[in-house]
């Protein structure tokens, strides 16, 4: 019995070796002459998206650097402008030296904003702020997880069903 099993395994190994050798000697099959033209046609019919409509990773390096620099400058300028406007309009409103209704309204708005922020800062402890930040991060993570679960459940499973 053992001898027969050994013999079968030996035959299997011999067959594997022979077939492997035979298959390795098979040359590649010649691709159809139509393949090249089909690929070229398919590529020609693809409408290439302009670079600014592709993902950020596919943008040209110069455009990516320019975008980063411009965004940073814009953020810095916005913060500086807001701070300057807050300071100037607040003092103008306080001195009641405003000549137009628009500037007067703006100065009132900034004065209220400043008062509110000072009040909140005095009321809220740093641990409370930290707690809010942690809660926000947790909510963001939960939303992210929910989106992944939804994608996998609704999109990937649907695709799998189509394939099978």
């Amino acid at each position: 019995m053992t001898h027969e099993i050994d013999q079968d395994e030996s035959l299997d190994r011999e067959m594997e070796a022979r077939l492997g050798q035979a298959l390795r000697t098979l040359p590649d099959r010649r691709a159809p002459a139509t393949l090249e033209s089909r690929v070229l046609d398919a590529l020609a019919h693809r409408v290439p998206l302009p670079w600014w409509r592709r993902s950020f990773g596919e943008w040209p390096a110069v455009a990516r650097v320019a975008f980063g620099v411009t965004s940073t400058v814009m953020v810095v300028l916005t913060v500086l402008a807001a701070a300057a406007a807050n300071a100037n309009l607040g003092s103008l409103g306080a001195s009641r030296a405003l000549s137009t209704p628009v500037l007067h309204d703006a100065s009132v708005f900034f004065a209220i904003t400043r008062t509110l922020s000072v009040s909140l800062t005095s009321i809220l402890s740093s641990s409370w702020v930290l707690g809010c930040l942690i809660a926000s991060a947790a909510l963001y993570a939960a939303l992210f997880g929910l989106a992944i679960a939804g994608y996998r459940t609704l999109y990937l499973n649907a695709d799998h069903e189509v394939r099978s």
Binding site: E14, A31, P32
Partner: protein
Amino acid sequence: MFMRAYQNMVFSTASRLAGNDAQAEDIAQEVFIKAYENFEHLRVSATAGGWLKTVATNLSLNYLTRYRKRWRLFSESESVPDVPLPDNALDSLSDEEQRTALEDALRRLPAHQRVPLVLYHFEDQSYEDIAAKLDISLAKVKTDIRRGRAALAPMLRLRGIGGAS
């Protein structure tokens, strides 16, 4: 130039796995479109051929997966086609004709035998990798490959390898 260098290899890979020339041409087309999308990397890569072969293999398996239910249904009942091959019937064929006959015999194997056989012998994948990739048991992989080899055995005699006649 790039495509001409690899199109036979890509088509062969797809054809042997899919077992269908029309589908293999579709798969090869898809492979080269993907290659076009990654051409910046591929044109300077020393492993472009391996990349193309891997993509062709994966796309072929995706194609087969679409028909998996049908494949599984038939795999339970489908038997190796009994094409009688008399021992000396094709001995007079030239080497090229014998290779063509072996290629045809391979393509005629049922998918559940052909695919693991091709992955094992052409792609040098292990039984375990094949089982994982095809989502079937290791025992079934071994059985299917063994039966596939048995079905091709007469072709080995024709090719005069090992003198098993």
